[in-house]
Each structure stands twice: as structure tokens, then as C-alpha cells.
Symmetry: C2
Amino acid sequence: MKISLDETAGLLEKAQKIIITAHINPDGDAVGSSLGLGAFLMSKGKEVRIYIDDKLPRNLSFLPGYDLIKRLDDERFDADLAVILDTDMGRIGAVSDLIIGKKTLNIDHHISNDGKADYVYIEKRAATAEMVFEIIDYVKAKIPLSVALPLYTGLATDTGFFKFSNTRSYTMMAAARLIDCGVKPNEVSEALEQKPLSVVEGEIEALKTLTMAANGRIAGIFLDYELSSKIESTEGFIDLIRVIEGVDVAVMIKGISPNVCRASIRSKGFDVSKIAMKFGGGGHIRAAGCTLNMPLEEAKKMLLDSLVSALEENK
Amino acid sequence: MKISLDETAGLLEKAQKIIITAHINPDGDAVGSSLGLGAFLMSKGKEVRIYIDDKLPRNLSFLPGYDLIKRLDDERFDADLAVILDTDMGRIGAVSDLIIGKKTLNIDHHISNDGKADYVYIEKRAATAEMVFEIIDYVKAKIPLSVALPLYTGLATDTGFFKFSNTRSYTMMAAARLIDCGVKPNEVSEALEQKPLSVVEGEIEALKTLTMAANGRIAGIFLDYELSSKIESTEGFIDLIRVIEGVDVAVMIKGISPNVCRASIRSKGFDVSKIAMKFGGGGHIRAAGCTLNMPLEEAKKMLLDSLVSALEENK
């Protein structure tokens, strides 16, 4: 059942023993909104357990309460409410077993949410952390740093440090309020920006393959299976070349096995989802992807040729 | 004479023909606060000329009014007020000649400002654009996009997109208000992030020299004279390695001639100004620099050795 801000605040107010969870493959908003809501409810004297059924990103370990998040538990905890954050119920891993039969409240800024929880509060917002901030602000609570810091982190990560198009006036106003509560933006950014040496080394190897095409309108990087299997995460790699002046389309292809490649395509307006669809993939106008069942060199040639032709046609 | 916000607003209100200028080697805040204030004053029916005696950064060309900024002028313009932004009067190049004998108003967020203008409004703020926003907000003016976009750009650039320690609650609140006036944060960030291909190629060459020392506590990159003379700007290069997990000190040395090198040193808390001073340089605890009169290989060895010893002592 879809509910309002007021009803969401009321449900949280009434509950005494609360489970909080968020999606697997957790990001700053999943962890930040969980910790922020958790710390707030605990400050109100409620009993709270936070479960996320996955490894947590190491660069979030500066957040107060990070060590309290458990993957799963043998303990019997008779929660009277389970809150699912930043996803619908389908992506919480084995935590679904823990909350069987419990009343569920789902708070999420993804409008694709399937709405299957008992109570669902969904809004198109920059981050789930922004919604949690609004709930806390709504009940006029004082916000301790243990709440403010995770919420700010959720806002900052889901908006790419206030750079993405989801950044709205309210997002900045919420950030301003959280800074008033003691958040130091530089400490958050320094903590979040940390990358393992292996990732930076991977970036270097990837950048060495930089290939320009279509008179500088296409930039590509290419990671073979050997290289990509060594790198923890290639998130953000494509942004290193997307920012080159004159580049309309940036592409990264990585081998996910010796004969299968995964391509990510980004544009500044040119519809790349059409190209991705041609190869059985999909996405949006400015961000798309596809899987290519061939070795890297072949995938590179095929995709670049296809992009060059598409750009030619669209001059 | 130091004046208040109220007096500053009053001076601007009274003036009819106004010159605006900012520092040479202009950045987003110099250009953004100039254009923002200029557009605001023009919207009030005043005559305005903006001069900056230097090349403007190309990635700011999306700003409305960018083409109106002149380096100098043969035209005789009888201004009754000259406004110097984001610097004291010592760093405005040949514009000083244009404003001889005119009443000067200096608005700057650098507290190192020498205070030599007739009227000086200085505050420790995130950006001069933030001060201009406050002035406009003080007189309760409606803010058109032509004013809001440059001011937002000034805020965003001087705070490293709201990541630096100068980012305060008021900064975010100002950003929120400017978004309300129509600024699209993603459009600003996309425009600002653009880099020439030559700069990205320079980054790649620099990253290839990545050297770790002191068990991963030091990361360094090294650009010989040949390479560094080909690169438009090495700004931000050191940040590529400063973010490596476990790195306390990041260093970049570049040859500025075959036998002279310039070193930049950054830390996450370890006092690097001491090291820089040892070599005749200086700076702050977390950011320092020095010039080394020797070839790159020698400079690299000497500085790394010195940093390793210093870190050893400070374990």
C-alpha cells in the first residue's frame, strides 16, 4: 500500500523493535540511509538491527555504525517492523528470510520499485537518504552527527557529489542542514574518494589503450579478460575519457571471459541505446550497455565500426 | 577602507557606469563572480564593462556573457566605480591602467587581501561568488539565470564541487537557491569537466610513472620537461594518486626546464610544508611545493628519500 510522508513517520514512531535492510551490492546511499535511519531510531530509544546481505564498500568504513551492520544473524529478533531501503523487496538477499511474516515498510527513491511491501513510501528523489532526512526533519527531531554523516554520504554518493541531474534545490538544502549538524564535506569526500592501488593501476592499464575514432568524437578503452579479472571494480573508468573535449561517445569494453565482452557506452546526447540494442543490449539515450560473445579485439572493431557509422549518419 | 555588506550593496546601488575586473590566470570564481555581478547590475539598467587581462579558461565558455569579457579596450569608459573581484588590486594585470583615478570597490574571499582599494569588502567565504550571491540576496533581487549560472559555477569551482573544507552550510544553501533560479547542476559539471585530449594524454603519460614508496604511504608521478612542456595544464594530476588507499603523501615533480623541476606535495595530515621548506619552498601542512634546480631523476630521488625519512621519523 502506498503511503505518505506523514504515515511513514507514524509507522516508524509506533514501532519499537525494527529491522533495517537495503540492497545487495550496497552503495553509499544503501549504507548511508540505513545507518542514518538506524542511528535516528536508536536515539529515540528503539531497538534496531541493520542487515545487509553483502560485503560493504570499504571506503564507507568511516561512517559511525558501519561495524554494526550484519550480513545475517542467528539471533532471534522479534521485530515489529522491517524497513527496506533504497530497493524493493527483491534485492535484499537472504535478509528476506529474516523478515518473513513481519510488517514491511519500503522507503525508496527508485520509481521502478515493485511496491510489494506492506507499506511503500516512494518518491522520485536524489537519494533514499534525502527521503530519510525529510522524514526526520518532518518530525522536527534534532539530528545528531551519527545520523547526519551517513545521510550526507548517501546524498553525496547518489548525486556524484552534487553533479548529477538528480541534484535538486531540496538536495542542496538538505546538505546545508546536515552540514549545520556537524558534517565536514571535505572529510566525507576524502573518505569516499579512496581507491585501492590495484584500481588505480587498472585505470592506468585501461587508459593506455585509449583509442580515438570519428575525428575525436569517439573515445574508447579496452580491458582484456586478464586485466579486468584483476581489477576489483571498473566503476568510473569510463568517466576518465567521457570528459575529453569534443568526445560525443565514450565506450569501455572489458573481457568478462576470454570470449565474452561487456561494453558500456556513454554519450553527451547522442542516442547510444540504439547501438546497444543492435547488439542485444539496452539502456538510456546517454548510458547503455551490451554483451558481445566474441574476443576483445573483435568486439572492439565491431562496436567502434558501428558507432562510427551511426555518428556519420547523424551528422 | 573596510566596509560592510550593507555599504557594499549601497555603493553598487548608487553607481551607474561600472567596470568589473578580476585576477589574471582567471578561474571559475573570477569569471563566474564577474559575470554574475555584471549581469545583475546590467539587469538593474546600469552600464557595465568586464575586463580580465588574460586568456579565459575554455571550459567556462558555456557561461552567458563569456564573450562580453574583454582583455583591454581602446574605448573611453567613464566609470564611476571599478569593482575588483576575487583578488586585491595587485593581480589584475593591465586593467590597473584602465581604472586609475576611479573609485575602487574590492570584493574578495581571500583574507590575505592587501586592502588597498578605496572600499574593501572581505570575508572568509567559500568563493567570491558566494559573496556576490549574498549581496544580491541582501537587496532582495530576483535572480535571473544569467546571474545564477555564473555564480553557481564560481561556487562549484572554488569548492571542488562542494568537496573542499571551505564548503559551508551557507554555500550549499546558496547553491540550493541558485538551482531554484534554473541552474542545472549536471550541465555545469559536464561543461566544467571537459579536458582537452592532450591533457588526458598527459595524465596517462604521468600515471605511467607512478612510483610507490614507504610501503605504499608515498605515491609519486614524474613528468620530464619534454612531456610537461607539451601539456596545457597539470592541474588535478596529483589528485589522481592522492586518492590511493593508504597513501599519506602524494608528490608530483615536473621539469620546467631540462635542469629545473617543480614539485607539488599533498598529504592527508602529515606536515609536508616542512619538507618543502627544506628545499627552499613552502606551503601549508597538507599542500606544499618547492623548486629543485636539478634534472628530474635527481629531484625524484632526493625528494622521495627525504619524504621516506620524514615519514619514518613520524611513525
